[in-house]
């Protein structure tokens, strides 16, 4: 196992990082959005389409974020305004997003991201940091979207734990009625953070279609959205842990290709299963030892009716 494996794990983990962060922020507001996979696919297809039409990386990313945000708005209208069941609404959003992406993706097959846009997303070394032995090679010789992923994680952490709005947000997620009584605009908070979550999921999809693959393919996410939902629990709703979870699972996803060269007598199929086995084990562990600090927002998944308070 060498440094190149760890650098590849960071790349494989980056789409997860955006998606986990998006879902984490959504869940902090007490909304459980299972539409991550759908919003990722919407972002992936619109981002790619914008890339082909405009050739401008900013417009492509903007389009992806708008598409993810649009998916989140549908979910927010259903669950916040009309108080529909959050689980069902999220699942519906995934089905909708998958269909939306295959429909919009017709005719994009075989297209590739324009070369100058590939350059925009290409790896570059960060001065000084990139020269640190080992760590520099793993973390600071990457593309622009990997770096912005690091930044967003830190910003999200500061936002949630160090600002007044972040405190209000946590209050909405923990005890919606109390937050409402304290004069916090509950619906507004829920809307804004569900949409921010969708925007980040759109970016996660765009990372796959614009940087990782750089070409269009149906179902480009291949279940990564679901892993992201489970990883929010793994990260114990703490944004600072998101990076660890994302890169660990990025590594598990690709480890099979790196150990095939060794003469190990483990079935390759077991290794393919590793990310899923680890997810299940972690879900069990988290629910067994219910420490106070690492548990879900208390109002997660519960629709808020002011009259019932």
């Amino acid at each position: 196992m060498d440094i190149s494996f760890f650098a590849a794990a960071v790349v494989a983990g980056t789409p997860l990082l955006y998606a986990i962060l998006g879902e984490l922020i959504t869940e902090k507001s007490g909304q459980l959005n299972l539409g991550v996979e759908g919003m990722m696919l919407m972002g992936a297809v619109i981002g790619f389409k914008m890339a082909i039409i405009t050739g401008n990386p900013y417009l492509a990313l903007l389009g992806a974020m708008a598409a993810g945000g649009f998916g989140a708005i549908i979910y927010a209208v259903l669950t916040v305004t009309f108080r529909a069941n959050q689980v069902v609404s999220g699942l519906t959003l995934t089905i909708f997003g998958t269909g939306f992406a295959s429909f919009m993706g017709q005719g994009l097959m075989g297209e590739i991201v324009p070369p100058d846009m590939k350059l925009f997303f290409a790896d570059f070394k960060i001065p000084f940091l990139g020269d640190i032995p080992i760590l520099g090679q793993i973390f600071f010789n990457q593309g622009i979207l990997v770096y912005s992923g690091y930044l967003l994680t830190i910003i999200a952490g500061l936002y949630i734990y160090r600002t007044q709005i972040g405190l209000n947000l946590r209050a909405v997620g923990e005890n919606t009625a109390a937050a409402d009584a304290a004069g916090i605009h509950v619906s507004l908070y829920k809307y804004v953070h569900v949409i921010i979550g969708g925007v980040l999921c759109g970016l996660a999809g765009a990372y796959l279609s614009l940087v990782y693959i750089p070409s269009w393919q149906e179902n480009v996410t291949a279940g990564r959205g679901w892993i992201a939902v489970a990883l929010v629990i793994f990260c114990k709703w703490n944004p600072y842990r998101v990076m660890m979870g994302a890169f660990l699972f990025g590594g598990l996803d690709i480890i099979g290709f790196r150990i095939q060269k060794f003469d190990i007598h483990i079935s390759q199929y077991i290794i393919d299963l590793l990310p899923y086995i680890v997810t299940i084990v972690i879900l069990i562990l988290v629910s067994v030892r219910k420490s106070h600090s690492g548990s879900a927002p208390a109002s997660l998944g519960v629709s808020y009716f002011r009259e019932e308070r």
């Binding site: 494996f5 994009l108 097959m109 693959i213 393919q217 290709f257 390759q268």
Partner: protein, 363 residues
């Protein structure tokens, strides 16, 4: 001026009427229109397997003038039966099912509709009205191995492969024999992905091989993921299914590709002539059903001459890709000099030739 216009209108309408008549005579049999239906496992724009079959469909329309219909992304399950029924409702009299997984359903439904002619790709079940067909892609794979063997400087070639099945194992063997015919020191390192179609995973497998100092990447996969990995690292690649030059202009050298047109056109012509019979078709380069895509400027000097030399021998039948002596990975002689691997042994091939680094079993 008016006269000229009138004249051209007359000529044009005559032409249209004439061509219309001509078409009608050619495309019916016993007064019934011949229509061919194609069932695809992927989208026609996949740039790979389904795209190649779609080119075959276009060749049928162009060369025989019959009407064709098609359906994309049909899953390899019982749904294919509904698709076939709906095609028959739309008038289809010949149906080509272009993926292995359709086999059992096609065999079932072929009995239900004895008047319809069925063609099934890459399977082994046949019937009165059910043909099976495939191509010897191993021949152009051997040739692409020559290009890769001449190109490699590290003597390590990476091969991203889908599943441990005879079709893929056979391809890796042919490729390796081609590599070692020009570069006996080179090794072919195999990485299994367990998917036909996942660009992210395929690319990661190729990246792992590149990190192990492989400088040429080949593939038995349906996306261009491995090509893009080679392109990003400034290394070289051999594609599969169709010309992938557009996907990796600086890396791509050549690819073994499918050319289904001649087979489909031939079958339709037989149907129109009333001489069609169910058959077991396994064509090679001389039938033009498989080809080597044009060799690009990324290929090493002299590769084209060497390839053309062997290609000529394959075409005139004096060269067999699987001619002995062939040793397996342990050095045991599997095919002695003077003989060649029989078709049935090729179809059940589960061992690697000398020079392959990897295992044919998933453990």
């Amino acid at each position: 001026m008016k006269k000229l216009t009138l004249f051209s209108v007359l000529v044009l309408s005559a032409l249209i009427a004439f061509s219309g008549c001509g078409k009608k005579d050619k495309t019916t049999i016993d007064g019934k229109e011949v229509v061919m239906g194609f069932i695809y496992v992927g989208p026609i724009g996949d740039g790979g397997w389904t795209y190649a079959h779609e080119q075959g469909r276009k060749a049928v329309e162009k060369e025989t003038g019959i009407r064709t219909i098609f359906k994309e992304t049909v899953p390899e399950g019982a749904e294919v039966k509904d698709v076939i029924r709906s095609m028959i409702d739309q008038g289809a009299t010949i149906i080509a099912a272009t993926s292995f997984g359709y086999m059992d359903y096609v065999a079932e439904i072929a009995k239900e509709f004895p008047a319809i002619k069925f063609l099934h790709c890459s399977g082994y079940k046949m019937g009165e009205n059910l043909s099976t067909y495939f191509g010897r892609i191993e021949q152009p794979r051997y040739l692409s191995g020559i290009v890769a063997g001449m190109k490699t400087k590290t003597n390590k070639i990476g091969y991203v492969a889908a599943f441990e099945i005879p079709e893929v194992v056979r391809g890796i063997n042919a490729f390796t024999l081609g590599v070692r015919s020009v570069n006996p020191k080179a090794e072919v390192h195999v990485r299994w992905t367990h998917t036909w179609y996942d660009p992210a995973k395929e690319k990661e497998a190729a990246k792992a091989l590149l990190d192990e100092k492989c400088d040429v990447i080949a593939q038995h996969q349906d996306t261009a993921g491995p090509q893009q990995a080679a392109e990003e690292r400034g290394m070289f690649s051999v594609g599969y299914n169709s010309d992938m030059a557009k996907m990796a202009p600086k890396a791509y050298m050549t690819a073994p590709v499918w050319n289904w047109g001649p087979y489909y056109v031939g079958e339709v012509k037989k149907v129109l002539a009333g001489t069609w019979k169910a058959s077991d078709y396994w064509g090679g380069m001389k039938d033009d059903i498989v080809q080597l895509a044009p060799i690009t400027a990324n290929a090493p000097d002299g590769a084209e001459a060497k390839v053309n030399d062997i290609k000529k021998k394959i075409l005139d039948g004096t060269f067999d890709v699987f001619a002995g002596p062939i040793k397996d990975q342990k050095g045991t002689v599997k095919v002695p000099a003077g003989s060649a691997l029989a078709d049935k042994d090729q179809l059940s091939c589960d061992w690697f030739v000398e020079g392959v680094v990897g295992k044919t079993k998933g453990k």
